[in-house]
């Protein structure tokens, strides 16, 4: 049995840009904006950092993408790419590096510049293939899960629309209170409910925002953390599960769940010692690339019983003032989704909540935060879960 990462590493500073269509900013601007905030937060200078794990999906290749812009003086920079888990995986690698003792201070940074390409939606980098795999739009990769969920649990189209609209209503309302979010505006429930389909049964409001942004974190070993600040954020679990595409190829899979997420969550809960996530977790920032993804996550992360997630959503369980706030930041939906930055941005929400800096969306007694990403499709993906807390043990 591996010893795991629980309580071995602490975050001592974080930074995050405003997310959105940052036509005013280059990659350099985004990186400098986030890193300067992070260094000030930790009381450090860039040369105090021993090594960097730099996550980007498609906005650069090697480590020099980072070092050129931040003028890093010949320190190791590793470029990380793991689709939508990129940011989380950069963080995971930085944590493992300090935990091993190979370095003392590491930075995990995720950055993405998606809006300079002139494309609508997400431009997916392609490689040589025979082009016989269908290439539908991104929402069309997740929409079949909503169709399947309706069929399995007997929801009418109207019930499904109400559920998904309720989720997105919540995320828009939360985003309205997030000064760094891409969309900071409440949207009337009726507007969301009556939007036209873009990938049946999903509408434009069921899709997250394609955004530019950067987020970063500085990590040290737990025993060093108090040297830097009295209130560090401790890492409780970091788990990633990459699937064999069994779901894609085998009829036993019914499209209402993401097996990779079940596995990553189970491993993370074991690592963190969590047995009742709905009760123990204070806030969850989850990968609502599409509303149906968030609905499946309620069940895959163990917050709701199978087939009950839609009812819990309608009952407000995951609202800002609900039993377990999910995407209190506004989520990918409202905060925006610059792929490489998202995972670390999710940790940033726990960072703010733990330090009482979450403004109008601040909740009391926040102790355990969780993040979840998935890169790929519901039937073949990489899924990542991290858990952080304010206390050791």
């Amino acid at each position: 049995m591996a010893m795991g990462i629980r309580d071995k590493v602490a975050v001592i500073g974080m930074g995050c840009t405003k997310f959105g269509e940052r036509f005013d900013c280059s990659m350099e601007d985004l990186m400098v904006e986030a890193v300067q905030e992070c260094l000030a937060d930790a009381g450090m200078e860039i040369n105090d950092i021993d090594a960097f794990w730099f996550g980007t999906y498609s906005s650069g290749l090697a480590g020099d993408t980072l070092s050129n812009r931040l003028k890093i003086q010949y320190k190791p920079v590793t470029r990380v790419e793991n689709k939508c888990c990129t940011g989380t995986d950069a963080f995971r690698n930085a944590c493992y590096a300090v935990a091993s003792g190979a370095c003392n201070v590491a930075m995990a940074i995720g950055a993405e510049k998606l809006k300079d390409g002139g494309y609508s939606g997400l431009a997916i980098p392609n490689w040589e293939n025979d082009r016989t795999n269908p290439d539908p739009s991104a929402p069309a990769l997740f929409a079949p899960s909503a169709t399947a969920y309706m069929a399995k649990y007997g929801l009418t189209e109207e019930q499904m629309r109400h559920t998904l609209s309720r989720i997105e209503y919540k995320n828009h309302a939360n985003g309205a209170l997030s000064p760094k979010a891409m969309f900071q505006k409440e949207v009337p429930f009726e507007t969301i409910l009556n939007a036209p389909y873009i990938a049946y049964p999903l509408t434009i409001y069921d899709c997250s925002g394609v955004a530019d942004g950067c987020a970063c974190a500085i990590v040290v070993r737990t025993e060093d953390a108090k040297k830097y600040r009295a209130d560090p954020m401790y890492v409780k679990a970091l788990q990633i599960a990459a699937g064999p595409a069994h779901s894609e190829k085998h009829q036993s899979y019914d499209f209402t769940t993401v097996v990779e997420t079940q596995k990553a969550a189970a491993a993370a809960y074991a690592e963190a010692g969590i047995t009742d996530p709905r009760k123990e977790i204070s806030l969850a920032e989850v990968h609502d690339c599409f509303s149906i993804t968030e609905l499946m996550l309620y069940e895959d992360l163990g917050f709701s019983e199978r087939g009950q997630g839609w009812k819990d959503a309608m009952d407000g369980v995951f609202d800002r003032d609900g039993e377990l706030p999910v995407n209190i930041s506004g989520g990918l939906k409202s905060f925006g989704h610059p792929i490489g930055a998202t995972g670390i941005r999710m940790l940033y929400e726990s960072w703010l909540q733990f330090h009482g800096r979450a403004g109008a969306r601040q909740r009391d007694n926040m102790k355990l935060g969780m993040t979840h990403n998935m890169g790929g499709t519901p039937y073949s993906c990489v899924s990542a879960v991290s858990i952080v807390g304010t206390e050791l043990g």
Partner: protein
């Protein structure tokens, strides 16, 4: 006994009413509609569809050759018959050939196949056409798209070739040179009276004489003509009564070029009885005349073709602009998306059976079928224990689906479906040619061979799903 062992046909699902063409130009048009190949269909895919209809229940590994015939072959250089043979999952050690350039391409291929059949070979002939008439012209109104296929051999034939006659003579009544996409016509008075009427009459009379038969001996006569009225006139000149004339589907399908007379022949065999005589007169720079005698084998299960069911399976709500777009006659605004990449040919041909014949694999240890073929079983993880497994022809249903209004498409919205096959195995695929209200979880589907994309002149052929065509009319 040399002749047709099996036959089949294909008519594209989409039909354009002639009224919609007339509306575009403020003109009165003839009644009816024309069949329109979807944006992902061409002469190859329609020949494949007809050939799959023809060979249902037949072991295509027995084929000794595959011939493709069309005036609209998608490639000038690179054989099309090899795509057809690949989709049919034939052996590699066979003869393949493309017949092109004339409306007689279909009958030329059939007669060449009959000659091979006399030497004991079984040859599949796939014929299809997708011809263009210039906008606001008669050809645009009269043409239609479609295909037919014939399995020619010397045993178990349903229609024996009992006499043939040929006339070949150079002529320009319609032509299309290298620089033109559109078929051009000389005026009818000269073309019909000086050539068409003369060669058809001569070939028809010659072949009847050879066979020792009178017009009254025939149950049906298949007569190619550019338009219906010349067909009726020619039948009369030859001494046939109107009820003997096989319907050319000019009104509800259109003139399908090299496939026109062959499709009529399939229609004639659909209602034929043992002992019936059928006269076939194919036209194009001359005439191929063939007398067929229908045999008892037409009554065998699966032997009788069903063109009617293909003609009736349709959607006729498309507008004229969509037709122009599908044929590449409109400069449409491209989507704000990255340029489509061409197929990697090394990847496409690494396992050619996968793409052309729809092969996955099945694990010999646990029995799980899977697509695409893989080295390590997705279910039991056995390594290199798989065997080839063909998914085409298996029962399949929609497990779940979406209707994608966002992706770039020439026929939006795209339906994307997860298809589960009887016996196991699953594919994530496009579903085409469907009325949206018919697309449901659990709906039966079948696979159809289509051209997914054309980039740098590389046409990427693969399979999509269509709702299963009901056997009942």
């Amino acid at each position: 006994m040399i002749g047709i062992k099996r036959c089949g046909a294909y008519v594209p699902f989409n039909r354009l009413t002639r009224k919609k063409i007339g509306e575009a130009y403020g003109k009165k048009t003839p009644p009816g509609e024309r069949a329109v190949a979807n944006y992902d269909e061409d002469s190859i895919t329609m020949a494949v569809a007809a050939a799959l209809d023809c060979t249902a229940g037949y072991d295509t590994k027995k084929l000794d050759g595959v011939y493709f015939a069309s005036t609209t072959a998608p490639y000038d250089e690179k054989q099309c018959a090899t795509v057809l043979s690949g989709a049919l999952d034939t052996r590699k050690e066979i003869r393949t050939a493309d017949f092109a350039g004339t409306l007689r391409a279909g009958s030329a291929a059939m007669l060449a196949a009959a000659d091979a059949a006399a030497a004991g070979k079984e040859i599949l002939v796939g014929i299809a056409d997708c011809r263009l008439g210039a906008a606001d012209g008669p050809n645009e109104l009269n043409f239609g798209d479609g295909g037919a296929a014939f399995l020619m051999g010397d045993t178990d034939v349903i229609a024996e070739i009992t006499a043939t006659a040929n006339i070949s003579a150079d002529f320009h009544d319609l032509w299309r040179d290298k620089e033109s996409r559109f078929v051009r016509l000389w005026e009818d008075r000269f073309a019909i009276e000086e050539f068409y009427n003369k060669v058809m009459l001569k070939a028809g009379k010659t072949v009847m004489e050879k066979a020792g038969l009178q017009p009254s001996d025939f149950s049906k006569v298949v007569i190619y003509a550019h338009v219906a009225r010349y067909q009726a006139a020619m039948a009369k000149k030859l001494g046939f009564a109107p009820e003997q004339v096989q319907d050319g589907n000019y009104v509800m399908v259109g003139n399908t070029g090299a496939a026109c007379a062959p499709m009529m022949l399939v229609g004639a065999l659909e209602t034929a009885a043992p002992g019936d005589k059928i006269l076939y007169l194919g036209y194009g720079e001359g005439c191929d005349a063939i007398v067929f005698t229908v045999t008892e084998a037409i009554e065998q299960p699966g032997a009788r073709p069903n063109l009617t069911r293909r003609i009736n399976n349709k959607k006729n709500t498309m507008n004229y602009e969509k037709y122009l777009r599908w044929r590449g006659l409109l400069n449409c605004e491209p989507a704000r998306r990255p340029r489509t990449m061409r197929s990697s040919l090394p990847e496409y041909y690494r396992i050619p059976e996968k793409n052309l014949a729809l092969y996955g694999c099945r694990c010999k240890k646990c029995g799980t079928p899977q697509f695409p073929p893989t080295r390590i079983c997705v279910e039991c993880n056995a390594v290199d224990e798989t065997e080839p497994y063909r998914f085409y022809g298996r029962n399949a249903v929609i497990q779940t689906f979406t209707v994608d209004y966002l992706a770039e498409s020439q026929d939006p919205p795209n339906v994307v479906a997860v298809v589960d096959f009887g016996g196991g195995g699953r594919m994530f695929t496009f579903l085409v040619d469907a009325e949206l209200d018919q697309v449901k979880v659990g709906a039966p589907v079948e696979m159809t061979f289509r051209c997914l994309q054309t980039v740098d002149g590389i046409r990427t052929y693969f399979w999509k799903a269509v709702l299963k065509l009901q056997k009942e009319d």
